[in-house]
Symmetry: D2
Subunit: 434 residues, 4 copies
């Protein structure tokens, strides 16, 4: 996590203050539940809520941890300083540190997912708006980087919308999967704590009780979560690379927004670099690199080892913060992307109608010309375009053999862009609904 690629709301989820606040809520709700089932006095449970409005003192907790060498104990000691030693004496009873740590981590991941869901929804809104705006902006479709057939810029945005919408569904599933809590004791047997405590705490925190935990919540959930973030990052890269291609000097069908004040813009007007989407390409790698470690974390020894912990301390914050930033940046890029429809048309016509050669070929065969002859007819005109810089349609209209098979009007029709855009509405209806 580095400041220039971070946004405050996501960063806040991973602050010590937030962590201690979640720990506090877990402990306080657990006390309530224990009082409910008569395991501890009601008064002691109520006393814990005296700290309801406290912002815990991170420096003080660190100070205590320096002595106790144990973060949860340090926090509990500090909590007792607020609640009173005697009143606090039942706090954490029958629980293990992991009950607090793992449940807290999942609360944090769930909240992170909520931000990411909102990010995706914002991105989807931007993509939808730009799709509708450019529904009929014709550009050349390319396979292998080579001109193929016409499409529209709206379809480009629409497919990114559809892809990100799938990511939204995936993320919601991943969020649901990670939203579990566990208060099940040293090896998950509830030997020292009643399952009712887990149920109450989870309900209060918006979590589902983990059906079976050991001391830890099983890490396949986290692996699935980070894998989902990796897929989203890959889709970000997909859009980023499209923009980078559109902005390259020879293509110039679009540019990232360039604020008036940004230095160098007008003395070297050609030198506007797609630095935001290049950056997004790199950020995608950073998000993706958490996937394999998260999967390696699944296989813990017996009921638990702690090999996963250092990995999660890093990828928990870093990956969610980076993805949040990347989604926000991408949304900004999409919203402000400067589109150049004229350049799109100019690019499409770079080879003066040659992109229609396949359609002409098809029309000739449908008009009864043999495949071989049709090929020769198209070929000899195409070569004049390619080698001599002629215009394809003009050449065809001047080719007597072609005119035997196709009327001038039929030839003209083959160059009608409407032929290629006739199903755009159908596709939009599929993607955006009616």
């Amino acid at each position: 996590m580095i400041p220039r690629y971070s946004r405050p709301d996501m960063v806040a989820i991973w602050s010590p203050e937030t962590k201690f606040r979640i720990w506090y809520e877990i402990e306080a709700h657990a006390c309530d539940a224990m009082a409910d089932i008569g395991v501890i006095p009601r008064a002691n449970a109520e006393a814990v809520w005296k700290a309801r409005d406290v912002t815990f003192d991170v420096a003080r907790i660190d100070e205590i941890e320096a002595v106790t060498k144990h973060d949860v104990i340090a926090f509990l000691t500090h909590l007792a300083e607020h609640v009173g030693s005697d009143e606090a004496r039942f706090v954490h009873q029958g629980m293990t540190s992991s009950d607090v740590l793992d449940t807290c981590f999942n609360v944090q991941l769930t909240r992170a997912a909520d931000i990411l869901i909102a990010d995706l929804e914002g991105l989807l809104a931007a993509l939808k708006r730009r799709a509708q705006e450019h529904k009929d902006t014709v550009r050349i479709g390319r396979s292998h980087g080579i001109h193929a057939e016409p499409t529209t810029m709206g379809l480009t945005f629409a497919r990114f919308y559809a892809e990100m919408n799938r990511n939204l569904r995936r993320l919601k599933t991943a969020r649901e999967e990670i939203a579990t809590g566990a208060i099940s004791g040293a090896v998950g047997t509830f030997a020292n704590i009643d399952p009712a405590v887990e149920e109450h705490v989870c309900a209060q925190l918006g979590l589902t009780p983990e059906p079976i935990s050991t001391q830890v919540i099983p890490r396949d959930r986290h692996a699935a979560f980070f894998a989902t973030l990796g897929v989203i990052a890959s889709s970000i890269e997909n859009i980023a690379i499209e923009v980078r291609h559109m902005q390259r000097t020879e293509v110039l069908e679009a540019e990232e927004f360039f604020s008036a004040g940004q230095k160098g813009s007008s003395a070297m007007p050609h030198k506007r670099n797609p630095v935001l989407t290049e950056n997004l390409t790199g950020l995608a790698r950073l998000v993706r690199m958490s996937v394999i470690p998260a999967m390696e974390n699944v296989a813990l020894w017996h009921e638990r080892d702690i090999s996963h912990s250092s990995v999660e301390r890093t990828i928990g914050p870093d990956t969610t913060v980076t993805l949040d930033f990347a989604l926000a940046r991408l949304t900004n890029v999409v919203e402000k992307l400067v589109i150049y429809p004229d350049n799109m048309l100019a690019n499409m016509n770079k080879f003066r109608g040659l992109v229609m050669s396949q359609r002409v070929l098809l029309a000739l065969t449908q008009a009864g010309v043999s495949r071989e002859d049709a090929y020769k007819l198209v070929q000899r005109n195409a070569m004049k375009v390619w080698e001599e810089g002629k215009d394809f349609k003009t050449e065809l209209l001047a080719d007597a053999d072609v005119l035997k098979a196709l009327s001038a009007a039929e030839i003209e029709e083959k160059f009608d862009l409407g032929y290629h855009t006739k199903h755009v509405d159908t596709i939009f209806a599929r993607v955006f609904g009616t």
Copy 2:
């Protein structure tokens, strides 16, 4: 994909014969749809079905491909040899190779998913049976590889069941995601083919039409698919490592089944190696290694490039074949795992009751002894066990200071294993339902 880690049904999905069969069905159904909307004559569509029972001749197709340098054209040429050149002349009309290739690939992945789903269901059945069999087989729970508190072997199986059940849900989602088809033409605009063709073909093949494709089906679907396989593989590793630990000489709480005939078993009875689960550990890595390339495949240039293709030619078969084999092997290991309950008890008692020290400590404080004094009482008896080989309970029962706080019966009760297993039924109900 190597033979020793392959099973025939999954391998068959990836055979050329299967591929050509699927291509054939796509083309034939497409002709039907084109006839339905009047684009081609019904007779020509019907003629294609003459090849309904043909097993296509792979060698012949290869022979043609050697000339045409194009696999789909080679297939179509061969198809015409069966159907008749004239009858076949409308086959593939308006379609591009990718319409066939991508739809076929998703059919293959969907079928692969069906096998993997069945594999997982088989594994779940085995885990459930073993869980119930060993529901009350007590063993020591371990954190960090160190004895913690008692649990049961049934809980171990139950948590693997719960984890694999989550994987089943994930896989079903991934299967649904990958079960799409596209017949949308050169850049996905349906310029040369009606969307109705896509709808019909998909319906016949059990697929959903891809809402918006380019020439290819978007690769985020595949990334999500392979990521899911990676999570499943990580869970396989999780179980494999548990078995490997249980089998190591000093633990010996379980062994992979060792057939009577396997050489060396009885002259070196200690030397039964957990080679199946070690192998599964490696296979998990092989499955997992497809995840990042599948994600790197998402960002294609413009409407498509073909960088993803070589990756998929490899990971499509290799990853599904390996995972299928691994799941089957794991199921076999689970079904036949030889469990040694006596060794479990012996291990638990390695330090003569010391695993109960925490419970005694808690009991002392609850009986009113101060935390510090309780600690000292437990400590002095624990050290006798640790250093002099005494029995913990015996020592406690002989310690007058302990007896001031706890009666002999109370001390005895602290060593009752039932304390630790009292919620096993609750957990089983959560995992397996009532």
Copy 3:
């Protein structure tokens, strides 16, 4: 490993025949060494060489393995069928299977490295030739895909040469690292076999004795080896992406060679797809995906477990075969790449001299114009080029304020391409030597 991405020499290294041949040599040389130190009779060692010219019968060995369930024993049994049971009775004495398997694997990797080294040398020769051919072929250098300053195509080839030359050095180092053998017995203590045997076998096979092995050769060597292949693959991707960019329709500075017979080339002359380099982009991912598993293989349990084996059975052949194919394909692409110098110049001049704006800016300040004024002077002329399609140099020459600072000749000089290429010889001398 799939046939279309494989070449026979590399495939042969991984054939069962080659493997058994290497096993045979290990065993035969080991017998010699044991005879040398008097551990077995000389006659028995000599007898083993009776099989010197035998091509081992893979089917027969498989047949035996089906019974013995052990590959090395199956081979030894078959070897005895050639040598005679009695004569062969000392073969493999004191050795373990891993002595044979691991030493063989390293022989195979070493031979694979030799092919890859030759591949790289071939690629380097091609890059060098193309570099010299196009040393002075000017093209625009691009940062961020945006025109920056002129460079030459020769420099592009030269930097790929320098990069691949580093890869050659890395590969030679990796080859040296992997060229070790071990004949050290069950846990590497030489309890049952004298170190002299290891020394002799290694010397005969061109290997260095592993200084300390356990039962296996340590896997950090293999991790370093596959990591090196991953770096090479990434450099392949680097070159591939350059070619793909050069070939895209709007750039068209180069094209992969397109044989006259390849269908569709002339009827759609614009539609020549860079499929070879797209394929290389995918192959690079396939090579790279072996790196993490190879690293995960390093941590074996105690003296060895067999988790690495399934990984290596796959990545050993697949990764080396894929990389060999990729290097050969890339060499072919480089050798035959069709370069379009005219298009390079046309692209450079797309914005009629604007790429020189920074140089003009610098010249103005050096001529005493304040930075702010210089900027304004450049800006107002640049905008005429950008917005009105004027020529930059013409505008400058017509701008009285500019002419106050720079003479017409000085302005002309700023557009001299020789300014940018003056150090090409220096760089070539650095890269290729004098």
Copy 4:
């Protein structure tokens, strides 16, 4: 990078202060070189050194950057505040930001490598000391986690030494590879700056001039660097897992040092968790996760894009800081590892001599007993040990059939541990030299 897994010296390399200091040195040395060749006045070059002892004000630079939106310009502006605007006017002349940024990054990586080299040397010293200390401490060697034949703890340390020594060589190579600098201008042609400047700056900073750069230093160097760190991390994991296994309750052949004051140690003396090596297992994953992104960074578009930058801003510091911490932690673990030779012997004898069964089998066949008969003799005695808890040697000595082949003394000899350790000196000489 998180504080608890960081050490100050490595962190300092990545501080803004260090970065600006290196930028300063690059610029100042560049001015000297430009003065040397007469491009700028000597006085101006000398003036830059007025800032020689300045600690640059990071906050002030940030303030300027907030306006200029460009980090290098902000730094240069601040530098002029120290040197004087007029004196500083030739600073950075003809250079691009990347000349500074990339050269600085390589200086940082080189310094990081120096620390890591020192770390490795420290680890090697610890491993060597422990190896010599426990050269003759016999323990059972294990394959597949199952007892195989005796080895010594010294050999375990020695093989870790040999592995880390290879890592040291790899790291030195990687350091040498990354120790390059480039001052070659916008696209690497030296159009605006003489190669002599690059040569001087590199010489002053202990770097080699990059033979051919573009605007950036080629990223295959960085890929090789991070791949090397990934291999080292994998070796750390290898040692960590050995320790974790040794410490697990049932094995208890070693324990991480446990300071007297650490809570809970004596009331639950069995509960000493190998948390340091578990942590190292996780840290290894964190280091390794940088390898693939570093390789993905190699393929930049044309002369450069900036996709690599965000990746490097993260993995540059994070990976080196984590690896430095991990090596230091591992060294500490190795130095203080508490070894339990008695437990090693007890473990070895868990099955009362059965680990010698293979040696007895061999001895019987060498004594002329047929393989089948020898197997039966060993088997029947082994089963008594396995099933009835008898002692293997005792049984053999009481077996008349065995005694027909082997004398009592010969049987006794088979249980001599010296047989297994006789080549330890040889191996030590190979590893540590004479």
